[in-house]
Amino acid sequence: MQKFFSNRKLVIVIVCLIISGGLMGVSVAIRDKSNTPPVIQQAGNDIVGFADRAVAMPMNGVRHGFVSIKNLLNTYEENERLKSKVNDLTQTKVKDETLTRENKQLKRQLKVGKTLTSYSKINAAVITRSPSSWNSQVVINKGENAGIKKNMPVIAGKGLIGTISEVNKTNSKVVLVSNTAQNSNRFAVQIVSSSNKVVNGIISSYDASKNEITMGNITSKAKIKKGDRVATSGLGGVMPKGIYVGQVSKVSADDYGLAKKVYIKPAANLNDIEIVSVAVRDTGVN
């Protein structure tokens, strides 16, 4: 015993391990709670975030240059493809406008206020990304001051890319759906099958070997086909209804053969995010 404690290096190592374990435990505990990180961590992140903008700006400029050149080379092909879609889109848009107006009128008539589908957007730019392979997080340049709260959904391009995991005063972290953490991405989604049956469920994990997210524990008997669209259901938490998540790519039985497990291909390209929007659900009656 005497010899053990006389070994200074060993004591230092053990103390370091204990502190390390303690800090990790504390930060995991804080992450699971609904409120934001402690004030000290928040202040630190804000300061670092400000400094980061100075470095990130020229780097993003370089990126813009590359992207512009790439776009220029693809323009002809893309133009051909898009021309065919424009007509279709105009029609859908007009229809959409009519339906939205009708929906509003009907809601007013029925004295229904804001429903789960009504949300507004906060636009933000991505500052940086965590240099880590399993921790798929990006930092965006809006925070608590802009009205962002934890667990809000983040949209980019075609659909949902992730949820807010940490909110500071002027920046916040977004966990992408490709994060492998066991407890990071849990949100309620629904699939409307071709026979108009609605299947509700929760995103349960990310399958890293297939680059797909999975939705487990589905006991509904409704037929789900490959290619069915998946959107958020707005049940529970702060997530609005109707944000596009992706398409069903495979349906199989789960490990025990009792429930179904659905594999979903995310719609948004998770590696090409520059501007994102945070969806804020409108609550209360208007």
């Binding site: 370091c16 502190i19 390390s20 374990g21 303690g22 800090l23 990790m24 435990g25 504390v26 930060s27 995991v28 992450r31 990180p37 961590q41 630190g44 992140n45 670092v48 975030g49 400094a51 980061d52 470095v55 990130a56 780097m59 993003n60 370089v62 990126r63 991505v126 500052i127 940086t128 990304r129 965590s130 240099p131 880590s132 392979s133 399993w134 921790n135 798929s136 997080q137 990006v138 930092v139 995991s165 940490e166 972290k173 492998t180 953490a181 066991q182 407890n183 990071s184 890293a208 070997s209 680059n211 590696n271 090409d272 995010i273």
Partner: protein, 174 residues
């Protein structure tokens, strides 16, 4: 021209710059670096610490202290999980220092030491994340899909930056 700038300033500014470049490079080149399923993670902060250890006067800079400071900011800003890099980075500096007592500090030994240190940094941080449940990766996938591309990327960066950084520290210490 360089005479008024001390090695300490070069180290500090470089450290801040490399810290932010880590994130910026990960973001800007994410389609290339995080091309599914492989992921190559730039570790410029570790590279800067290692190169400073080789070229600059080790005693006057308190490298281990600054490694801990930058590790703490790294945990806080990028990872959101405290207590990982704050200990890994000083450990890496400590081990490299022991190795350089036995080895001559030249390009080849630096290359080998950097190889070992990147493996340590990635391995230990992965281990820490798996323990607390913020990552679920298995050993084989980690070795093939993360460690191998990361080593390739960082050793190329090492080869590219070795001589410029050597020149930089030589110019300010003259």
């Amino acid at each position: 021209m360089f005479k008024k700038i001390s090695a300490g300033w070069v180290f500090a500014i470089g450290l801040i710059l490399m810290f932010f470049l880590d994130g910026s490079i990960s973001f800007v080149f994410s389609p290339e670096l995080f091309n599914f399923p492989n992921s190559a993670v730039p570790c410029l902060t570790v590279l800067w610490l290692e190169l400073t250890l080789i070229f600059a006067d080790r005693k006057s800079l308190h490298l281990m202290f600054w490694a801990a400071v930058v590790g703490f900011i790294f945990d806080m800003y990028y990872m959101g999980l405290l207590g990982v890099f704050v200990f890994i980075l000083p450990l890496v500096i400590y081990l490299s220092r022991i190795i350089y007592e036995a080895l001559p500090a030249n390009f080849l030994s630096g290359f080998l030491v950097y190889f070992i240190m990147i493996t340590l940094v990635e391995g230990l941080s992965c281990f820490a994340n798996v323990i607390v449940g913020t990552a679920s990766v298995n050993m084989a996938d980690f070795l093939v899909e993360t460690l191998a591309p990361t080593l390739a990327l960082n050793l190329v960066l090492f080869a590219l930056l070795y001589f410029p950084v050597d020149g930089l520290y030589r110019a300010v210490s003259r």
